[in-house]
């Protein structure tokens, strides 16, 4: 069994993506034997009002049999935009979304923004995780209007420090994971789950030795990245099947609080 904690539908403004809707995502999941996928709508990252795209995702999920059971929708919330509390409530209660995804770089606010802190606190009340994606696209090959600076792991620490009780998904880690002693202690206290889509997880074995096997899970970053690489990092680990299963689906099931 496989659960992908980092999937998208929708389009990226600067590059055509081949698979862009729930039907093609499901088809791909079937072909590669992936049972469930956390899905976020890419358009929400670029819309001024991301709730429009959250609704698009919700409506698409209503229109196909079998999707609601296998696709786990996350709402993109911009906590600096008017009405975001309403958007959050609507997404989690009316649309039954299972988590929150935030994109401070694209929505132009700081990781220390007081509104993000409030959103993280609300995630605790709703008992849902907050997904933080450190890289959307490789900045080196970006279009000139795309964001220039990518996050490193240390950039997340101000939020973790303010709201250590929240649950965080850390996705597509492409740059340094170096932390000082204080931040390392913080990381040990916070509940987080990192996906295997980022290039840093080429050294998944080393990361597991540092943080433990319960902290990682399969995540593809599809359809921006290829669908296979993130999985190879798990398949070729020198670990037993029980530990690999933790990465394939057990950790994700526990973290997402799903059946």
């Amino acid at each position: 069994m496989w659960i992908d904690i980092n999937g998208y539908i929708g389009q990226w403004p600067y590059q055509k993506l081949i698979l862009d809707d729930c039907a093609t995502l499901m088809h791909r999941m079937n072909r590669f034997g992936v049972n469930r996928t956390v899905v976020t709508h890419l358009n929400a990252i670029h819309y001024k009002n991301p709730q429009t795209a959250n609704r698009m995702l919700y409506e698409e999920l209503q229109n196909m049999a079998g999707m609601k059971e296998r696709l786990i929708p996350f709402a993109v919330i911009n906590p600096t935009y008017a009405g975001w509390q309403y958007d959050l409530k609507q997404s989690l209660e009316e649309y039954s979304m299972k988590g929150i995804a935030v994109y401070p770089k694209y929505h132009d606010y700081d990781i220390s923004d007081v509104n993000l802190t409030e959103l993280a606190r609300m995630s605790i009340e709703y008992d849902v995780p907050v997904a933080l994606t450190l890289r959307m696209v490789d900045h080196r090959s970006r279009f000139w209007m795309d964001v220039e600076k990518e996050w490193m792991l240390t950039d997340l620490m101000p939020l973790f420090r303010r709201v250590p009780e929240a649950r965080y998904m850390i996705r597509n880690v492409a740059n340094s994971t170096r932390l000082d002693n204080e931040d390392m202690q913080l990381m040990k206290k916070v509940q987080w789950l990192m996906d295997t889509s980022g290039r840093v997880t080429n050294n998944l074995e080393g990361l597991i030795e540092t943080f433990g096997v319960d902290k990682f899970a399969f995540g593809s970053h599809t359809p921006i990245l290829d669908y296979v690489t993130s999985r190879l990092r798990i398949e070729y680990l020198d670990r037993n099947e029980e530990e690999k299963d933790k990465l394939r689906y057990v950790n994700a099931t526990r973290f997402l609080n799903i059946d």
Partner: protein, 306 residues
Amino acid sequence: MSELDRRKFVKKAFKVSAGSMVIPSMVSSRKEMSDGQVSVPIQDFDMVAEVARFRKIDAYCTARPDMNLVEKLGIDRMYVGQPMRWLEWNPEEFRAANDEILNLMRSFPNKIIGQISVNPHFRRESLDEIARCADQGMVGTRLYYQAKISDPLYFPIIEKLIELGMIIFVHGEAQMGVGGYRMKYDIGRPPTISVPEDFVEAARRYPEGMFQFAHIGGGGDWEYMCKAFRDTPNVYVDVGGSNNEEGMVEFAVECLGEDRVLFGTDNSYFQGVGKIIGADLTDQQKQKIFFDNYNALLKRGGYHVD
């Protein structure tokens, strides 16, 4: 070969290349669905078995390779050069670098083949070094930023490599702030870095040469790179590098044809294998990219794998 003859050669070669080009379906996943419904049921997928189905030659690896992972991924042979030196590199230094690679070859016979590093600013020493290393079994080059590949400094080296039937591997880049591509975003690369247009210029001057542009997954704008080489049939690209964006391999095949795309890792082994396994291409096309295409280039000089 005169300039006129070279022009005829290019014309002829391009006709052949264009005629055999296969445009893959970029949307076959959609084709297999009817009315937006998912028609293929969920199936088991043995990823390890899938990877093992293809023979592989890594056309771009840098010392030292992770031989444990190389074995696991079933890579038959690695073409390995020394890490990049940007500008300064005197003959004593590049000889020492090649000696290290020769030692690595001795540690992994028939598994690792070294690529020769030289600096074209030292013409005589570079030509001597190519001869010395070729005598000891190194094949092809690992050239970096010391001069653009289209610089006349490189001409005697290119001609020597053509004579030996060896692939001319050069580190290439194309991203904002590099070599004329939107330089207001200057990222500090030396002006002597080779960009796609430099490869095109060199490849048109030497249509009998086999030029390998490394590496379209190296972080640059791979769409730009592939489009730049569409009409230059003697430029090959490897898909190595840490960037494993979806569609990269398919786009390379669409632009260049299925014979001009090579498997490479640049030591990002999972990305190198994963982006080809995951590509929307036929098994035959994948096998060409993983193994056959590079082996065909090696064969021209008699260096191929049986």
